[in-house]
């Protein structure tokens, strides 16, 4: 597998096999770690990434230099639109639709809506647990301030 990862890094895997190799790579945390380490090693030795051609920066700088410098951009005068009456009609329809939706009960089940809300962490509720954990056995001297919690959802990345 190491060789396949190596080949993938160098774009030496046949296009039709790439998906399979990536799937294998994703199946193992160890292989992903290896993938990361090799990229890190490549960064350290200053080898360019193959995703960009080696002279990418020169080409980019040259293209950028050729771009005209806009000193005083003038405003484009909008032409009176032939869509105006249609737009007015659409806005009336939209207001109507909104009013109709607001008067109807939501079609989505309530628990689906609840799941969509971001998890709110009430840190003040966690503080007593933190205090109890801290003075568990090792720190009966801990001052109150150490129990102040500032938790957020998820894990540390």
């Amino acid at each position: 597998m190491s060789e396949k990862i190596s080949a993938l890094m160098d774009y030496e895997v046949a296009p039709q096999d790439i998906a399979a190799v990536v799937d294998q790579l994703l199946a193992s945390a160890e292989q992903q770690a290896q993938w990361h380490r090799w990229h890190l090693a490549r960064d350290v030795i200053g080898q360019p990434h193959l995703a960009m051609s080696p002279d990418f920066m020169q080409k980019f700088a040259a293209k950028l230099a050729q771009e005209p410098v806009v000193i005083a951009p003038h405003r484009l005068r909008p032409r009176p639109s032939q869509w105006m009456p249609l737009a007015a009609f659409a806005s009336v329809v939209f207001v109507g639709l909104l009013a109709w939706q607001l008067t109807l009960p939501s079609a989505l089940p309530v628990d689906v809506l609840a799941q969509q809300k971001p998890v709110e962490i009430k840190s003040a509720e966690i503080s007593p647990y933190l205090a109890a954990h801290r003075d568990g056995f090792s720190n009966p001297l801990a001052s109150e301030q150490f129990a102040q919690a500032h938790f957020e959802a998820g894990e540390q990345h």
Binding site: S2, S6, A7, I126, A132, A153
Partner: protein
């Protein structure tokens, strides 16, 4: 292709060596000797000074005096910031100020386990979960010290680093790190006198102390739990305390299971379902919390450990 892989390996190894130039893993015997020396020094050496405890952005200063009187170890600690707190231990008798808000009972095995006496009595158990390496040398509070690091042998805990006084073996500084080697908690002396005569006045209480009940802690076995079937899948952690207590500033009671691997503790709280605690994972820096509902109970696991550890511990509980 294979040659390329080897070439990468060599580069990678080179990088690793360059980044951790001085880290030198110690073999088990040497590791045990280093840890045992520090563990006994904290009990046998006479010292006085002050130390700082830092957790996140919070800092507290403590004064400490440790002396041996008639062959009995005595230690006196005083919190210097905010509301005064005091802790006096003579042998295994403990008194405190102020009196704790709940019926505090201390376990005889752990009354002397405050900084700089962090290490467990049985250091070989610690070495089942961590390897010890020598990281380098540094001058700390005016003293020459050697830096050691406890490196976890698995993904269930974080590394810990400590500075050992060359002359006495005393731990001068202790750093608990997170997954990115950032500081989670630290204890460090800011001033210390090692050896010599300690002024007896330093051991005198300043506030009216009340004695705290010290018990012989029972040897606990998770298999004895009547209500829960507990099958921890994380190696190295032992149940060291189980108590029913009310949470600070709350009237509700929880059952508190405290686990330790010798270097870090982890708490599991069991109580009637309470919707205020978010289910699932939450974190504050490297400190993780995992809460889950089992029937009408809420189980929350909290500790200075990676997410996987709290999650596994919370899921290790099933109703009998």
């Amino acid at each position: 292709m294979v040659a390329k892989v080897y070439c990468r390996m060599v580069v990678l190894l080179g990088c690793l060596c360059a980044f951790s130039a001085q880290a030198m893993p110690l073999d088990k015997g040497e590791a045990q000797r280093v840890l045992a020396r520090s563990a006994s020094a904290a009990e046998a050496v006479v010292y006085a000074g002050s130390y700082i405890y830092q957790s996140g952005e919070n800092i507290a200063n403590y004064k400490i005096s440790h002396a041996i009187e008639n062959g009995v170890a005595a230690e006196h600690r005083e919190l210097l910031d905010g509301e005064p707190r005091e802790y006096l231990r003579v042998g295994d008798k403990v008194s405190m100020y102020p009196t704790p808000g709940y019926a505090l009972q201390l376990d005889r095995r752990y009354t002397s386990k405050l900084f700089p006496n962090h290490l467990p009595d049985n250091v070989s158990e610690l070495l089942q979960s961590y390897g010890l390496s020598k990281v380098g040398r540094e001058r700390v509070v005016g003293r020459e010290a050697t830096i050691y690091q406890l490196d976890p042998l698995d993904a269930y805990r974080y590394p810990q680093r400590f500075w050992v006084d060359d002359e006495s073996g005393l731990i001068l500084k202790w750093l608990m790190m997170g997954m990115r080697q950032e500081m989670v908690q630290s204890f460090s002396f800011t001033q210390i006198q090692v050896g010599g005569k300690i002024d007896r006045k330093l051991l005198k209480p300043i506030h009216p102390l009340r004695s705290v009940q010290v018990n012989d802690g029972a040897v606990l076995d998770v298999a004895d739990d009547k209500k829960w079937r507990i099958k921890p899948t994380v190696p190295g952690f032992k149940l060291i305390k189980k108590s029913t207590r009310s949470l600070p500033h709350k009237s509700r009671e929880v059952v508190h299971y405290l686990y330790s691997d010798g270097a870090v503790t982890l708490s599991v709280f069991v109580e009637p379902m309470n919707a205020n605690i978010p289910l699932g994972l939450a974190h504050q820096g490297a400190i993780h919390l995992y809460a889950r509902q089992v029937d009408q109970y809420l189980l929350s696991c909290l500790g200075e450990v990676p997410a996987v550890t709290v999650e596994r511990f919370a899921k290790a509980y099933t109703l009998r």
